[in-house]
Amino acid sequence: MDSILSCFKDKVGEVVLPGDVFSLDLSDVENNTVKSEKIICGPGLRRNGDEILVSKSGILRHRSPNLYWIDSQQKRYVPAKGESVIGVVTAKSGDSFKVDVGGSELASLSYLAFEGATKRNRPNVQVGDLVYSQFAIANKDMEPELVCIDSCGRANGMGVFGADGLLFKVSLGLVRRLLSPQSEIIKDLEKLFPFEMVVGLNGRVWVKANGIQKTLIVANLLESCENMTPQQRQALFKRVAEGSL
């Protein structure tokens, strides 16, 4: 029996553009010629009646059994619940901090949402500091809210960081590639020299290596990884490793 998703299956891995339509012919389902299936639309896809519209340009991806999304080279971040981001504290207001995460609105971060913080014991956060934190609330119509603790009240790697080192912005697609468990970019980069890195899903990357020169090299390499094939990247990294610095 043919699946209703066959129109998707042909397009997986291909470039789609906003306005592309996947129409699902429901008359076939009623006639029992095809099996009806559930489908989960990820970022860039949205349902409009009987059809599914593409709303971002990029590559259609699929994960079994029925998850489809679009891998785009977007730069603008839209907050989503549970995502870990790097924010810049822009103001202290009453009992919370206002944090810039690159979204359309500033996020708020309560001063109690740090490990070990109490009403008496306020965390030491200055304006301009970097915080690695997670979205607890991210709704369309509400101010997003960040926390620096997990559900058990532990910092779990979150909190204020980055006394020195360099912060820069890359596209959201590159950040996702960096964060994927078997990221080849990271593996290649690790071979060059040791460095520390914090990657936020909002496209911000913080790096620190031994010395300014090396930090700059890591930052520039990561930025240039955006539009390179694995072969080009390896060739570049090899050149750097051989000491063209």
């Binding site: 891995g13 990029g58 590559i59 810049v88 970097l130 020195d164 080192g165 360099l166 930052a219």
Partner: protein, 383 residues
């Protein structure tokens, strides 16, 4: 939208980098980012890329009555605009401080330096003069808008041609480009702005600051100069004290940079002139490099070919001999000949595809590059 705030760590890092004579993009202290000047299909349309900063200048002209104080001089009108497209921090219809500063500096650089012969723009004294309007649009903001805007404006002015006019008594005739060739403006010299950013109360100096460097600089010195080493304007902002030696040093650097940039502008103008004369391709579309994102490209699928040859040989040896039936030629009409029935292949070759697929076990594999794998296409001829 607000501007993205600068974090303490960026500020500290940049200052430390400047102290050790390093810059974010690997430039030296006195280096410019790469400058690209391209012209549109129309005269007087110029786009300048200074690194990631992009500026578009468009020159237009109009016949207007002159100012009462200067009845024999044409009018030059300069207008710079910051659209939200350039940076989310810019807002439309708002006179920001940056906008006023840039407009004023551009005016001082181009109008007050009298680089354009305004008297040649007079058509009828006291009645009709040409008004030359330069619109500069910032398309992307990555620092040093002033230099990019001044290069774009002067290049566009040099590129511009106004319609020819003829005066008979009191009648003014304006000729279209088809009737008479348009005339270029007469330009005496080409002033170009060079920006210097100062850090740590003037201890460190950088040429062509990028956006992040502009955010942390203490002071800015913009110097407009032409290739004859004549200073057309100097503007210092940010309120830092500069020593006489520092200003002199800046003027020396500026003279070198200006001669380089002027040469680049002349070369770009000459290129465009050549292309137009030869009837070749010109305009923005031609000057745009074809950029593609290749990192998300799908990998080539690999096909196992280890035992293809043997399997193919086996199949050939086992396969039954092809149909011996050779259709006899048909003569439809005198002077024609036909074999078979058209469209359909009747040579008995139609099962080739099936056999190839089932017989040679063509496997699609994911990534992994072992030596015995080779890339598609694989074709095995059986007959």
């Amino acid at each position: 939208m607000r501007e993205t705030p600068l974090s303490n760590c960026e500020r500290l890092f940049l200052l430390k980098a400047i102290e050790s004579k390093k810059r974010l993009d690997g430039r030296q202290t006195y280096d410019y980012r790469s400058i690209k000047i391209s012209f549109g299909t129309d005269y007087g349309c110029c786009s300048v890329n200074l690194g990631k900063t992009r500026v578009l200048a468009q020159v237009s002209c109009e016949l207007v009555p002159p100012k009462d104080s200067r009845p024999t001089e044409g009018i030059i009108f300069l207008n710079l605009e910051l659209s939200p497209m350039a940076s989310p921090a810019f807002q439309t219809n708002r006179q920001s401080e940056l906008l006023v500063t840039l407009n004023r500096q551009l005016e001082r650089c181009l109008r007050n330096s009298r680089c354009i012969d305004t008297e040649s723009l007079c058509v009828v004294s006291g009645e009709k003069v040409w008004q030359i309007r330069v619109d500069v649009h910032v398309l992307n903001h990555d620092g040093n808008l002033m230099d990019a805007a001044s290069i774009a404006a002067i290049s566009a002015l040099c590129h511009f041609k106004r319609p020819d006019v003829a005066i008979q008594g009191r009648d003014v005739t304006v000729f279209g480009p088809a009737e008479r060739d348009p005339v270029p403006l007469s330009i005496y010299h080409m002033p170009v702005c060079v920006s210097f950013a100062f850090f740590q109360q003037g201890t460190y100096l950088l040429v062509d600051p990028c956006e992040k460097e502009e955010l942390i600089m203490d002071g800015l010195l913009v110097m407009a100069m032409n290739k004859h080493r004549e200073i057309c304007s100097i503007q210092s902002s940010g309120g830092i004290m500069l020593l006489k030696e520092q200003v002199l040093r800046c003027s020396k650097i500026a003279s070198v940079k200006v001669s380089e940039i002027t040469e680049l502008i002349n070369k770009a103008l000459e290129n465009d002139r050549q292309a137009r004369k030869e009837g070749g391709k010109f305009g923005f579309v031609e000057s745009m490099p074809k950029e593609r994102i290749t990192a998300l490209k799908r990998e080539e699928s690999l096909v196992e070919m280890t035992d293809v040859q043997e399997t193919a040989d086996q199949i050939i040896s086992k396969a039954a001999a092809g149909h011996e039936v050779v259709p006899s030629p048909v003569i439809v009409a005198t002077g024609t000949g036909q074999v078979g029935e058209g469209l359909q292949n009747t040579w008995g070759l139609d099962e080739e595809d099936e056999e190839e697929e089932s017989g040679t076990k063509v496997e699609k594999r994911g990534t992994g590059s072992k030596s015995e794998y080779a890339c598609l296409p694989v074709s095995v001829f059986l007959h």
